[in-house]
Amino acid sequence: MSMTHRERVLAALRRQEPDQVPWVENDIEEALQVQIMGRADFTPPELCEKLGLSGFGAHFPTGAAADGQGLVTKETYKESYYNPQKVTFDFFPPWIAKMGADPDTGRTYIEKGLLVSEESLKLFDQFLPDPNHPGRYDRVAEWLDKYRGDYAVFARIRLGAASTIESMGLEEFSYAQVDNPELINEIHRRFSEWSAAVVDHLNDMDFDFFWANDDLAGNTGPFMSPKVFRELLLPNMKIVAERIKKPWIFHSDGNLFPIMEDLLSLGMTAIHPIQPSAMDIGKMKKEYGGRVAILGNIDLDYTLPLGSEEEVEAEVRDRIKTAGPGGGYLIASANSLTDYCKVENVLAMSKAIKKYGKYPLEG
């Protein structure tokens, strides 16, 4: 029995067996989207159709004149948040940080976190847009209406952990664990309350699921000890998690095994991206596959940017074989499709998913 893309995604998220393994990406960098499509004026469903993706969210080059990522300052940020010019489904708070821009790529980056003291908390008012301002919701609702079709559409949000860490800077965040834990708690609470207010609006919209991005870990393990995670971050992340009324995916790079039990207490539907260099997907499936759905694991260190099409095909086949049985697996890259992935490898991934992803899976 054939399913629609949306049914396929929702079934896999419920840990059931869909008709085929669905493919969704947290992000596809716009330069790569344009390379794949050969033009910049395509719609999200056109990109999905071309690749065989079962859903979309994040952002697209489509729309009015590009609002040059690098040019967003805190003065113009709120306005561009309320009135996005290009198609987006993102609901992230800004980093409260001094931003730099790489002159070559225009990519912005965090030069220095600005939340370092009680005094600096007043920056929240300056930086955070009003989560109840109707502008962005109205605009996104139009896009949802226009493009959703049979696809599963997601909104990206944060639970506040990454916002806290990046807006303090990892060093200040670390020192405050001993000097001033209450400051971490207060910063986190404010970000989480903001996201919770956003989620209240998103719950009433036609989204099929949410994707919460909060990077907490490097390859060897979480940035902070499990104890600090449990006591300072988790209770604030729950402020958001408990308000969510749709299926949702939790995203953090790196090795999450040391905090997996605590993380699962947030009640997410699925976990992403299970970086192969940091986590073994076989272990993940075996130990936690009965409790959460799994997404990701197609390597971004070597296979997608540097590997051959044959290597991509072999990896897709292997992952479906490992994580696909019984359902509960959605395929995706180990983070996002960055602009340095080879286009032919992205197309090879698409082909291989169609070839090996049909249930019942090959033995």
């Binding site: 020192y175 940035f223 000890s225 260099s277 260190d301």
Partner: protein, 215 residues
């Protein structure tokens, strides 16, 4: 006397910056030399911190908290070492390579190298091959250490080595590389002298090369 060095070690491992500062003052007042405080107090403590990180007992935050405690002692000891013109163990120029803006791992490498008794010149992120060349000319380091977190920017490590060769500087330095996607195999393929999987191991490997062994 021995006790105070032991207490310094414990203070660093437990991440107690004010305490380490005080203990370092006490040690110096007791007549212990700055070299002794460094080599028998601060450095062995950071080696323990590195090991704990490798074993998964310490996480990145804890390593940073210990490093801060180490610096609270090192900052007192450093000017004394300089005024005595004490030979430093060696010097390293460290940076994240061109196109790459990840600095957490690079910062940890700087902290651990300083905690290992080396002088460190930190060039920050997005460092071009030309910037490395200029820094090697200026600082005449023993080590050039490059960090990359992106598969694309790893290529700039090879380019930096090439630039050092083109400027006749390659033989003057030992080159170490690291970062999440970097492997020993990659290090071999671009002719780096060593690779380390984490910041503690970076110091161990540098130490081995400093005494003339193979990393």
């Amino acid at each position: 006397m021995v006790n105070v060095l032991q207490e310094i070690q414990e203070g660093v491992i437990n991440g107690q910056a004010p305490r380490v500062k005080e203990l370092t003052q006490t040690a110096l007042a007791q007549g212990l030399g700055p070299q002794t405080v460094l080599n028998e107090g601060l450095v062995p403590a950071m080696a323990v911190v590195g090991e704990k990180f490798q074993k998964g007992e310490f996480f990145i935050s804890e390593m940073m908290i210990s490093a801060r405690a180490m610096y609270s002692g090192l900052n007192l000891v450093k000017p004394l070492l300089l005024s005595q013109k004490a030979e430093s163990k060696g010097k390293a120029v460290v940076a994240t390579v061109q196109g790459d803006l990840h600095d957490i791992g690079k910062n940890l490498v700087c902290m651990m190298m300083e905690g290992g008794g080396y002088e460190v010149v930190d060039l920050g992120v997005n460092a071009t091959p030309a910037k490395f060349v200029a820094a090697v000319k200026e600082h005449q380091p023993d080590f050039v250490m490059m960090s990359a977190l992106l598969t694309t920017t790893m290529a700039n490590m090879g380019k930096t080595i090439q630039a050092l060769s083109d400027n006749g500087l390659r033989a003057k330095v030992k080159i170490g590389i690291g970062g999440a996607p970097v492997t020993q195999r990659f290090a071999d393929s671009i002719g780096a002298d060593f690779y380390a999987a984490d910041a503690g191991e970076a110091v161990t490997k540098a130490n081995m090369l400093q005494i003339g062994g193979n990393a």
